[in-house]
Amino acid sequence: MTVPVKSVFLQSYGLTVHDIENYLSAALDRGGDYADLFFELRINHSISLEEQLVKTATKAINLGVGVRVLSGEKTGYAYSENLDRENILRSARTAACIASSSTSGGKIGLSAPAIHEHDLYSISVLPAELKIGDKIALLQQADVAARSYDQKIRQVQASYVDETRHILLASSDGRLVCDVQPLVRMNVLCVAEDNGNRQSGHQGAGGRRTLDVFSEALDPRALAREAARQAVLLLDARPAPAGPMEVVLGPGWPGILLHEAIGHGLEADFNRKRTSAFSGLVGQKVASELCTVIDDGTIPFRRGSLNVDDEGTPTHKTVLIENGVLCGYLQDRLSSKLMGAAMTGNGRRQGYDHVPIPRMTNTFMMAGTSSPDEVIRSVKKGLYATHFGGGQVDITSGKFVFTASEAWLIEDGKVTAPVKGASLIGDGPTVLKKVTMVANNLQLDQGVGICTKEGQLVPVGVGLPTIKIDEITVGGTQK
């Protein structure tokens, strides 16, 4: 069944469905197996408040179309920022060159699916339409709250960014899929100073919503107070310990552990090419029975969620690890076809100028049954890490690092002194085998994650309940 497609590209850029069908034919003119066109209009705004001044406001417009042709394991790709006929056809012909047979593309008929499987971020006002004054007001609230938290707070930088992303995907198998994806984010950075000792603290929040996301626990004042609290706390932090020890991870953002330790290693492209430390481990035990890990792109309003991925596939809830056993991989179209597996809606790209590759959406561990207090009480001597910066993984050796920005010593079952940030290093395929307690307090992060792979940045989410890892190496300086 065909329904009229409402897309900015058809309404405002003079494209017709008939034109798009012709471009797809041209893309397959050298005999490719499959072609798609990815039209994208991404509008971003940002505002930065610092030294109590609105220092700048920015607007960015990224418009373009990427043409992809698949032929066996090969991908031909070209893109154009000019949406006129001549330029798109040139891109289609360039991408077509990856294939080399004389069969022609034939006639392609496009139709739109009757309804979207998901409607995860239905909002009344798109970020691109928001009033700048309303955004400035949020930043000013954060600034005042941070400065009044403590006299030791010397600097506050509050920033706001939003994105409105229109996509239209047309494929040679006849699909015409569009989506409009809102995204907002706010960050507060504070620097505290005491007798020449300077420390910083950060907090942020966001989601695929409008400014209403910044309320209650994510109110700008709450974010600011949290950033200020971290900065002031670190003024009294001791150097972090060095060596292997018991580590308790707090709920929420520490889920970056899952993202680095196992998530990347389970992206299908690495496993199809057998370059991942997880290659060939499906069906095997890679974690303790307490661990069930999910990637779910279908949670309403979350930063990592999408109605459809950047290949037009509806997103899924994919079980990666169930009770410790590895269940499957995160797939895009190319890998799923070559591996004979179902697509999971994880084919994502930074923009029209990049090919889609398997990426995570929102990756988290299911809650267990322990209480968070019980987990802490069980540790004789260890580290309790509650806030993290970034992480990185070597997917081939499986070694990963993630860096705590707030951590405490645990001594005889009690949280005692704060310690300075330190990196934690471990081995992806074995670290979850050392998870001996999982608490009942699963939290998703506040909506600020950015993941980088092969030079492409995409927004993601993570989540974790409080967990205990029996041994992981803490990279501090103190014996």
Partner: protein, 449 residues
């Protein structure tokens, strides 16, 4: 929008002025890119495009806003100029705002030879062949190399034009080619990856694919059989690919953006000893053919040679027009245009001057210690200098490599690490805008078993 990059840039700043801007500058860039990935001998990905981009900054007195667009249709560009001026009305008066002082625009700039037209003689077939040969050379080097992430060739030609409302109009063209391969080696059921690459503005300076492949193979093979070591305090030697990351941290700490915000461990230390007496660090925009070289920066300021650390003494920070005013000094030609159109301080060619010791001689002085091949993670705090990162490397015993090491971290404070640079190699090579030779650091905490 039709017209040359220069015509568009001039039109944009004129329109901004007519809309009420007191000053504006526009950077137009056109990039021609070609990318091929070959894996196990077969072409995996071919990508080609020509793209254009406008980045605009406007001032209304001391208020400012910025914008960026890849849509250069006349109508869209004009609308964006108007919207940018409107946004600027809503920002704050900032006494340090504005275009650079007009005297900063002039300057004698040598011919930096950033472009090589002979890349055009290398057609797509040749480019694919280079990638294929680099990967093949790695496979041929040893049967323990069982897999590959691929062989890669990339080429980029960019044309940059900058125009502003006080009469500056300038432009330049630059080319760069990149050839790499990333083999995977396997033994005892464990895999390791590494890569090697060559990058240059000149076609005849590209290393041969065979050299690239063999070097990549050597690098990955020496990681096989990696193990952990016990937590200890040891001297640490950084391979140039690792030491250049240390220089990146030094850059972050001397950037005017970090200094005026007091978010650097090097705040208020001009004239102080901040590193070992043999350490000299410079930012040199005038290296002929340098990957970070340019005749003027992204706000039109003439680029220069800036001494950063001389014989251990901190001499200068790096500044844009804005951070220069904040710090009551002149811009150093380090204004980089961000993706959203504003200006941030960036490095040109930022490097630690090479010393006299060969890398072998440096390793030879280590009784027991770690040689760093690769660092992962983000455990560096520019505000405090605290440093903690994951390492893959080689263990040194009595001056010789004895076995590879992984799943350990090294930690210290950058302030102390700079003071503890005990030996400096003679082996600098420029594989990007930031570079350093082999470095030996007297003592760091290694955290392992």
């Amino acid at each position: 929008m039709t017209g040359t990059l220069k015509e568009i840039a001039c039109h944009v700043v004129d329109r901004a002025r007519k809309q009420g801007a007191t000053a504006a500058d526009a950077l137009l860039r056109e990039d021609e890119t070609f990318e091929v990935a070959v894996r196990r001998g077969n072409v995996e990905k071919l990508k080609e495009a020509v793209s254009k981009n406008l980045r605009l900054r406007v001032f209304l007195g001391n208020r400012t806003a910025a914008s960026q667009t890849s849509d250069l249709s006349a109508d869209r560009v004009d609308r964006l100029v108007d919207e940018t001026v409107e946004m600027a009305r809503l920002t704050s008066e900032d006494e340090s705002g504005g275009l650079p002082d007009p005297t900063a625009f002039s300057g004698e700039v040598p011919d930096l030879q950033l472009s090589d037209s002979t890349w055009d003689e290398l057609n797509a077939e040749h480019r694919i062949d280079l990638a294929r040969r680099a990967e093949a050379a790695a496979f041929e080097a040893d049967s323990l190399i069982t897999n590959s992430k691929g062989g890669f060739f990339q080429f980029e030609r960019s044309r940059t034009v900058l125009a502003n409302t006080v009469g500056f109009v300038g432009g330049y063209e630059a080319t760069a080619g990149y050839l790499a391969t990333a083999p995977i080696a396997e033994s005892g059921g464990a895999m390791q990856q590494d890569h090697w690459f060559t990058i240059t503005r000149y076609r005849d300076r590209l290393d041969s694919p065979e050299q690239v492949g063999r070097r990549a193979a050597e690098r990955v093979l020496r990681r096989l059989g990696a193990r952990r070591v016990k937590t200890c305090q040891v001297p640490v030697v950084f391979d140039p690919m690792a030491s250049r990351t240390l220089l990146k941290h030094v850059f972050d700490a001397v950037s005017g953006d970090a200094i005026y915000r007091k978010r650097s461990f090097l705040v208020d230390q001009i004239g102080e000893v901040v590193a070992d007496k043999n350490v000299t660090v410079v930012d040199n925009a005038h290296l002929v053919g340098g990957l970070g070289s340019s005749p003027f920066d992204d706000e039109g300021v003439a680029t220069q040679f800036t001494p950063i650390i001389e014989n251990g003494v901190l001499r200068s920070y790096l500044n844009s027009a804005y951070t220069g005013r904040k710090l009551a000094t002149r811009p150093t030609g380090n204004g980089n245009r961000t993706a959203s159109g504003g200006i941030r301080v960036g490095p040109t060619n930022f490097y630690l001057e090479p010393g006299n010791d060969s890398p072998d001689a440096i390793v030879g002085t280590v009784k027991s210690g770690l040689y760093v091949l690769e660092l992962i993670g983000f455990g560096v705090n520019t505000v405090t200098g605290d440093y903690s990162r994951g390492v893959t490397g080689l263990w040194i015993e009595d001056g010789k490599f004895v076995y590879p090491v992984h799943e350990v971290t090294i930690a210290a404070n950058l302030r102390q690490m700079l003071q503890d640079i005990e030996m400096i190699g003679n082996d600098i090579s420029f594989k990007g805008p930031v570079a350093a030779p082999t470095l030996k650091i007297r003592n760091m905490t290694l955290s392992g078993e």
